[in-house]
Amino acid sequence: MNTRVDPGLTKPEGAVAPAAWRSLLLQHPLLRPAAALLVLLVLDALLVPGFFRLEIKDGHLYGPLVDILNRAAPLMLAALGMTLVIATRGIDISVGAVVALSGTVAAMLIGGTMVVNNGVPEYVANTPMGTALAAAFGVALLCGLWNGVLVAGIKLQPIVATLILMVAGRGLAQLLTDGQIVTVYYQPYFFLGSGYLFGLPFALYVVAAVLAATLLLVKKTALGLFIQAVGINPVAARLAGLRTATLIVFVYVFCSACAGLAGLLVTSNIKSADANNAGLLLELDAILAVTLGGTSLAGGKFSLAGSMIGALIIQTLTWTIYSLGVPPEVNMVVKAVVVFIVCISQSGEFRALLKRRSA
């Protein structure tokens, strides 16, 4: 139990009775999403034999849990960016398009040509990988800037503003690739999405790094406070001296940057860029993850940890459905049902209704 008491400052948590602790814990905003994830995991443990089994093959950790985490990586990245956008009372539905665009740029620049060195065939990148990655990431940043300027500068409604890029971004990616799948033949690039470091998938380190950086940014600077203020009451925030427009541009750039990274993970993982399908509907899953994590679409208070749990709920659900051999057509419906249950359990109105019924 946390017994930290600052001398000279009376912290309300300092002296609470066990009963109060329990109610504090029960009121914790992460309780519901965490419980939902736990229920899913328990169900999996019952339904899927060896669900919690972890084994080490060739020095790599394998197992369903690792698999879920690994596959959830792009969604977790997208959900991180989406959380900040939603906290400013905005929304970004161009995430999937940015995933496709950045993945395509990277895949096309790297490509891979076979050269024979001393009789050994070897693939080399068309463009140095660093340049290619930077270019892809840069494209993502530009996408974010575009969204941000449309929302904060021209004051388009966020859903309309990002709808433009949602259509245009994927269209551009398809134009670049002539609608063909671009295959990558350059080995080092695969490390990003399917490589292992210290026994764990490299993608997890990417997510962990971005999450840590975001948390630092939000907690150690005034960014978190400012984003909430702008999301709750933009007029009051401006009058208090905040650069509201700059903040809004920033969150869209950040969201696209996350989407761009996710695009790199996706193309690297499947060793090709599929402009038609990469990141398709990822924005909806990201919005869902944010909502499941307890952040309100009305803006204001947000929870990065909640969004991560939300992303894991979605990925665990998908994994479960596939591993149980449920036909993929059913997938969407099952997902919708679970999401419905989680969302309704978070609704204050619904809880009040239950209370009234039982009273």
């Binding site: 600052d6 400052l9 309300p12 150690k220 600077t221 005034a222 960014l223 406070l225 400012f226 909430q228 203020a229 709750i232 009451n233 007029v235 009051a236 925030a237 401006r238 009058l239 208090a240 001296g241 905040l242 650069r243 204001g300 208070k301």
Partner: protein
């Protein structure tokens, strides 16, 4: 009084209401009696429980105990709709209507008259016009609500409340955003409704208005009913006394003597020359000295708030120049103004000031943090220190500094916003209606702090609709009318009649115009 003689049976009798919120006892043994055909004023300081009691009556809150009897029937409304169906209609302080819908739609929202299963627009317009006619408001009910001034919107809200065959009409501070003439119109409407036998419960902070309209007064203090009085038999002094529960020397005379002292004045802090904005403000000159309190008087829409917004960069001036401490500055946005040491408490606390779900602490440090920039976060210790210091100094009533500001009473929210600007240690603080909608005690306290700040050398631009308040504290005063300055007065020249004349645009004010210009320029 008419009410007492007209009917012996109260239409609404509320007794022994208790309501406990986490950590706060909001109501303890609260009650009131309301007779048909009377205007009954509910008075009390902020936090006395007026709003809570009304919310209990209108079904927003469920009381923990007590009884509500309407027409001899015990009721316990569980929602505003239920209360309305029972005949208790309420008009809230903040107009709760949809600005982009038409006036008629606003009146009938949720209960459109129907014909063949479709909305009968024509019947709706006709009935809306009839209802408003009853209030003697002749406006085009087809136009969007937002095209009308706040006072008309208030009338629309009343019309909406009346539509439901109300027996009891509750008005929660309906006058806080109305000017004098509009208040008179509202009172006319109330008198007519009273004559029709309506029981009207009126909540206000304005003593004048209470005496102008009320038959009886119920005073609340600390969540309890302090007493019920016939208006005619209660002196103002006695009323204030009962509200604050203090000896009578906290009355107006005491404050006058206190504020009457001449303040030491320094050099010019800010000088504006011909600042103007198309459609909002004609060119205005003004100068503010260090340690000076400049009052800005005038009716709503006279250009008071517009002047303040230009000085703060909230709106951009399209003509004129501003100097701060002799240097010409650009005030293109609030950031520029804050960087020059200017702070601004907006008149619209809810929409332009408080960030409701955020805590008292976060609301207090926001402007300071904004000035420091995003990277130099104020350490948590320092934030807590600042917040608890201001809570102590300003006497803010809050459970803790982490309580959301939205759960504080209006006066305490205002103090938090005051603290937000004090934390930036401004050279000039612009206060636009800082005492609107808050109770006598908090008003007095805020005026005391303002005087203290002036003595410490801060310049203050003070805007208030309550003329006596401005007169009492101002060193100089600028009167505005029709979007321009129309008179200026120095301390000593300040007397209510001539200022009123200037505000209203009567000949006395016009005559003063020349001397006024001179006084305004004298800052130069």
């Amino acid at each position: 009084m008419t009410a007492l003689s007209g009917s012996t049976q109260p239409v609404l009798e509320v007794t022994g209401i208790h309501k406990q919120f986490p950590g706060v006892k909001a109501l303890a043994d609260a009650g009131l009696r309301l007779y048909p055909g009377e205007v009954h004023t509910l008075m009390g300081q902020n936090g006395a429980g007026k709003s809570t009691l009304i919310k209990v009556l209108t079904g927003v809150y469920q009381p923990d105990g007590g009884s509500i009897v309407l027409d001899g029937q015990a009721i316990r409304p569980r929602s505003t709709q239920e209360a309305q169906a029972l005949g208790i209609s309420t008009v809230y302080q903040e107009v709760n209507l949809c600005p982009n819908l038409s006036v008629a739609e606003n009146i009938f929202i949720g209960r459109y008259p129907r014909r063949f299963g479709m909305v009968d627009w024509r019947a709706m317009r006709r009935q809306a016009a009839e209802l408003l006619q009853r209030l003697q408001v002749g406006i085009d009910v087809g136009k969007p609500l937002a095209t009308y001034p706040l006072a008309i919107q208030q009338m629309v809200a009343i019309a909406r409340a009346l539509h439901t065959d109300a027996r009891v009409l509750i008005l929660d501070e309906p006058t806080s955003s109305l000017d004098e003439a509009e208040v008179q119109t509202l009172f006319g409407v109330l008198r007519r409704l009273r004559a029709e036998g309506m029981a009207i419960l009126f909540v206000t902070h304005f003593l004048e208005q209470t005496y102008a309209i009320s038959d009886r007064i119920t005073v609340m203090r600390n969540g309890e009913r302090e007493g019920e009085y016939a208006c005619a038999g209660l002196s103002r002094l006695a009323l204030v006394n009962k509200m604050i529960g203090a000896p009578a020397d906290a009355d107006e005379d005491g404050t006058e003597a206190q504020a009457g002292e001449e303040r030491e004045q320094g050099e010019v802090f800010l000088r504006a020359r011909g600042i103007a904005r198309k459609g909002a403000l004609q060119p205005v000159d003004l100068a503010l000295h260090r340690g000076e309190l400049l009052g800005l008087a005038g009716l709503l829409g006279s250009g008071r708030t517009e002047t303040a917004r230009l000085l703060f960069g909230a709106d951009r001036a399209d003509a004129g120049s501003v100097e701060v401490e002799g240097r010409r500055v650009r005030l293109a946005n609030p950031r520029d103004a804050i960087a020059q040491g200017i702070g601004f408490c907006s008149e619209d606390r809810k929409h332009e000031g408080a960030i409701l779900p955020l805590s008292v602490r976060e609301n207090m440090i926001l402007a300071l943090q904004a000035r420091q920039g995003i990277w130099r976060a104020i350490p948590m210790r320092r934030q807590q220190q600042l917040a608890s210091d201001y809570v102590k100094w300003l006497g803010i009533k809050t459970a803790s500094i982490e309580t959301p500001i939205g759960s504080l009473s209006g006066g305490n929210q205002q103090k938090v916003l005051l603290a937000r600007w004090l934390a930036t240690e401004p050279g000039l603080l612009i206060l636009d209606e800082p005492t609107r909608g808050i109770d006598v005690r908090a008003k007095q306290e805020i005026m005391d702090y303002v005087s203290a700040l002036c003595r410490k050398g801060m310049s203050i631009l003070f805007i208030s609709s309550e003329l006596p308040e401005v007169l009492r504290v101002s060193d100089r005063m600028l009167v505005m009318r029709d979007r321009q300055a129309c008179g200026a007065y120095r301390r000593g020249e300040l007397d209510e009649t001539s200022v009123l004349g200037a505000i209203a645009g009567e000949s006395a004010g016009e005559g003063n115009k020349d001397t006024a210009k001179d006084t305004a320029k004298e800052g130069a």
